[in-house]
């Protein structure tokens, strides 16, 4: 081993769906400096050991978003992840393709579903054709207006959030964190004239499938914080449209529910969210739970100081107070 290097063991996911019966992990061992980026190591493997290794990359500077992959089970840009800390913690580096996208070959995944979801949110300014901007004119924004979407333009579309998202994994109807963060960026853009329609559409096109688990915000290499922007979108959708979907009914129902007694009335919330039909649908499951947990169908006690809670609602839950 050369001075200043470490023995780095890579277990790399290999799969060619056209030829291989199943994926396998191939081991490569190299002497590398601890500060070597994972991408540099992979390119060295491809150049010096195994030219058949397939991967996507371009800028090597954490700008293009091409080299996102799983490094020891975490969504990472290979170009900005150093091998040293990974080896120190796990003893080896397991490299796998992004999740929630089918594998084309080795570390290269099919991106079509990711981009289709992106296109669906119309990621561009919608301007009113009846009021075209005069030739040569500008449409300036104030610094305060720009501040509302300070984080979202940092997105490099690497799909790390899409890969980390359990809602994407479980339900193709969920457009994914990146698409929704992008939607937020246009909804709050004062120049955009489509935001009412955008909010109405997204309510029925997956917005309420977000689990607010914040896995996307952890995975994002650019700190776009998609989960927080999705929360903002939900609050705006409720303000504009009220409770039109199960998700928005649940949010409004929850908020109103606490106003009764200060604590959640679990049974009442089911009715508020799902209506009488929904309650009937959930009756067998509910009865199953009530047998062990009879408190489920009892009203909670009324907390002390409900007068204070009521005054807070009176002060802050007026329609004109909403965002």
């Amino acid at each position: 081993m050369t001075e200043g290097t470490v023995k780095a063991t890579f277990d790399i996911y290999r799969y060619d769906p056209g030829h291989d019966r199943a994926p396998r992990y191939q081991r490569y061992t190299l002497d590398l400096a601890p500060h070597t980026p994972v991408l540099t190591a992979l390119l060295k493997i491809r150049a010096e050991i195994d030219p058949s290794l397939a991967l996507r990359y371009s800028c090597r500077s954490a700008i293009c978003g091409s080299c996102a992959m799983q490094v020891n089970s975490k969504s990472r840009l290979a170009c900005e992840t150093q091998i040293g800390p990974e080896l120190a913690r796990d003893g080896r580096i397991v490299i796998e393709p992004m999740r929630n996208q089918s594998v084309l070959r080795d570390l290269v995944v099919e991106q079509e579903p990711f981009w289709r979801n992106y296109d669906k949110v119309q990621p561009h300014l919608i301007l009113d054709p009846r009021h075209p901007m005069p030739e040569g004119s500008e449409n300036p924004m104030t610094p305060e207006e720009v501040e509302r979407f300070r984080e979202t333009p940092r997105c490099i579309a690497c799909a790390a959030c899409f890969s980390a998202c359990p809602a994407v994994e479980a339900d193709p109807a969920f457009p994914g964190p990146m698409a929704l963060a992008k939607l937020y960026r246009f909804v709050v853009d004062p120049r955009d004239q489509g935001h009412q329609d955008r909010l109405a559409r997204i309510q029925t096109e997956g917005l309420w499938l977000c689990l607010r688990c914040h896995l996307c915000t952890e995975a994002c290499p650019k700190d776009v914080r998609p989960s927080e922007r999705i929360r903002d979108l939900k609050e705006m959708a409720v303000a504009v449209q009220g409770g039109t979907e199960h998700g928005s009914k649940h949010a409004i129902g929850f908020k109103d529910n606490i106003r009764d007694r200060g604590l959640l009335n679990e049974m009442k919330l089911v009715r508020q969210t799902s209506g009488v039909v929904g309650v009937l649908e959930q009756l067998p499951q509910g009865m199953r739970i009530v047998r062990k947990r009879p408190e489920l169908i009892r009203k909670p006690h009324r907390i002390e100081g409900m007068d204070e809670v009521e005054k807070i609602y009176e002060a802050l839950d007026r329609p004109e107070e909403k965002p």
């Binding site: 089970s73 975490k74 913690r89 359990p166 809602a167 994994e169 479980a170 339900d171 309420w208 499938l209 689990l211 607010r212 688990c213 914040h214 896995l215 915000t217 952890e218 914080r225 989960s227 927080e228 929360r231 939900k234 609050e235 409720v238 199960h246 998700g247 928005s248 649940h250 949010a251 409004i252 929850f254 908020k255 606490i258 200060g262 604590l263 959640l264 679990e266 919330l269 969210t273 799902s274 929904g278 499951q285 199953r288 739970i289 062990k292 947990r293 408190e295 489920l296 909670p300 907390i303 002390e304 204070e308 809670v309 005054k311 807070i312 002060a315 802050l316 839950d317 107070e321 909403k322």
Partner: protein, 296 residues
């Protein structure tokens, strides 16, 4: 140690066994739980989607109650922990603070922002320490392989919760080792339980829950344990639905954190409310010699 006890809605109702076990464990560790009958619901990540400032104001009222008594706040739910912690942070935004203060000032409520929000898991591992826990074990949970399931809002967003690594936490596993159990590491331990959309799209919620339970099972877990009663609902009370989603039986007992500790400290299954679970804990209890009377 004295703490302002914030049980949250579920532990006061359908998840009462969590409250029973918390009280038992705190009593045995000499942690005094100070009751605040004025505490209101944290909003659970739902009410803020309808009105964030209102939700922050209600939680600032909760935080101010603890501050007035000079106590840190003890939570037993990942979601309550997240909501109260985020309220502390959102309150630092001058625009939010101005509106919250305007609503609270007429009620004589002032908040200086000093209340620390601590989940029981954090108190056990940080303030009390696993060594002291280990010393109190009279019924080591030897042989029991337990998959920790953290619950999103205890870990993420990591820069706001300011606790363990959100991707590779270990406090929960340290605690499990201290009581003699063998922690099981699996990807699902830091994933979502699916509960937030249980009433929005039940099939999707069950697929998510099923995936995590199955992951724990594939990695050899005899049982799971969680610091969140909402995760517990999803993993235990709705496990039959998760089984339908994954297409096979799971039979995975799911413990609350203080139930695991209480068992190791010698509490009876009845004292910990283990008979209230939907999935029988009897096979897991039999493995640690705690009798099989709990869940029929």
């Amino acid at each position: 140690m004295r703490l302002a006890y914030y049980p949250g809605c579920v532990a006061q109702a359908s998840g009462k066994e969590l409250d029973m076990a918390t009280r038992w464990v705190c009593r045995s560790l000499g942690v005094e739980l100070v009751e605040f009958p004025k505490f209101s619901c944290c909003g659970s990540g739902f009410s803020d989607e309808a009105n964030e400032v209102l939700t922050v104001a209600l939680n600032v009222r909760n935080l101010a109650l603890a501050e007035g008594a000079g106590l840190d706040l003890l939570t037993v739910c990942s979601t309550c922990t997240g909501m109260l912690t985020l309220a502390n942070l959102r309150y630092q935004d001058p625009k939010v603070k101005a509106r919250v203060d305007a609503a609270l000032a007429p009620l004589g409520i002032q908040y200086r922002g000093t209340t620390k929000v601590k989940h029981l898991l954090r108190v056990l591992t940080e303030d009390i320490g696993v060594e002291k826990i280990r010393a109190k074990v009279v019924r080591p949970l030897g042989g029991l392989k337990i998959g920790a399931f953290y619950g999103c809002h205890l870990l993420r967003p990591a820069d706001e919760l300011n606790w363990e690594s959100a991707e590779e936490p270990h406090a929960f596993e340290d605690l499990l080792s201290a009581v003699g159990a063998t922690p099981v590491y699996y990807r699902g331990r830091v994933m979502c339980c699916g509960f937030p959309i249980q009433f929005v799209k039940p099939d999707t919620a069950s697929r998510i829950a099923g995936r995590q339970i199955d992951d724990a099972k594939v990695h050899g877990a005899d049982a799971m344990a969680t610091p969140c009663p909402l995760c517990h609902l999803s993993l235990d009370a709705y496990q039959n639905q998760a089984e339908k989603a994954v297409g096979h039986s799971l039979d995975m007992p799911v413990f609350h954190v203080p139930q695991v500790v209480g068992l190791a400290f010698g509490a009876s299954p009845e004292e910990l409310g283990l008979g209230r679970h939907l999935v029988s804990t009897a096979p897991a209890l039999a493995k640690v010699g705690a009798g099989a009377r709990a869940s029929p």
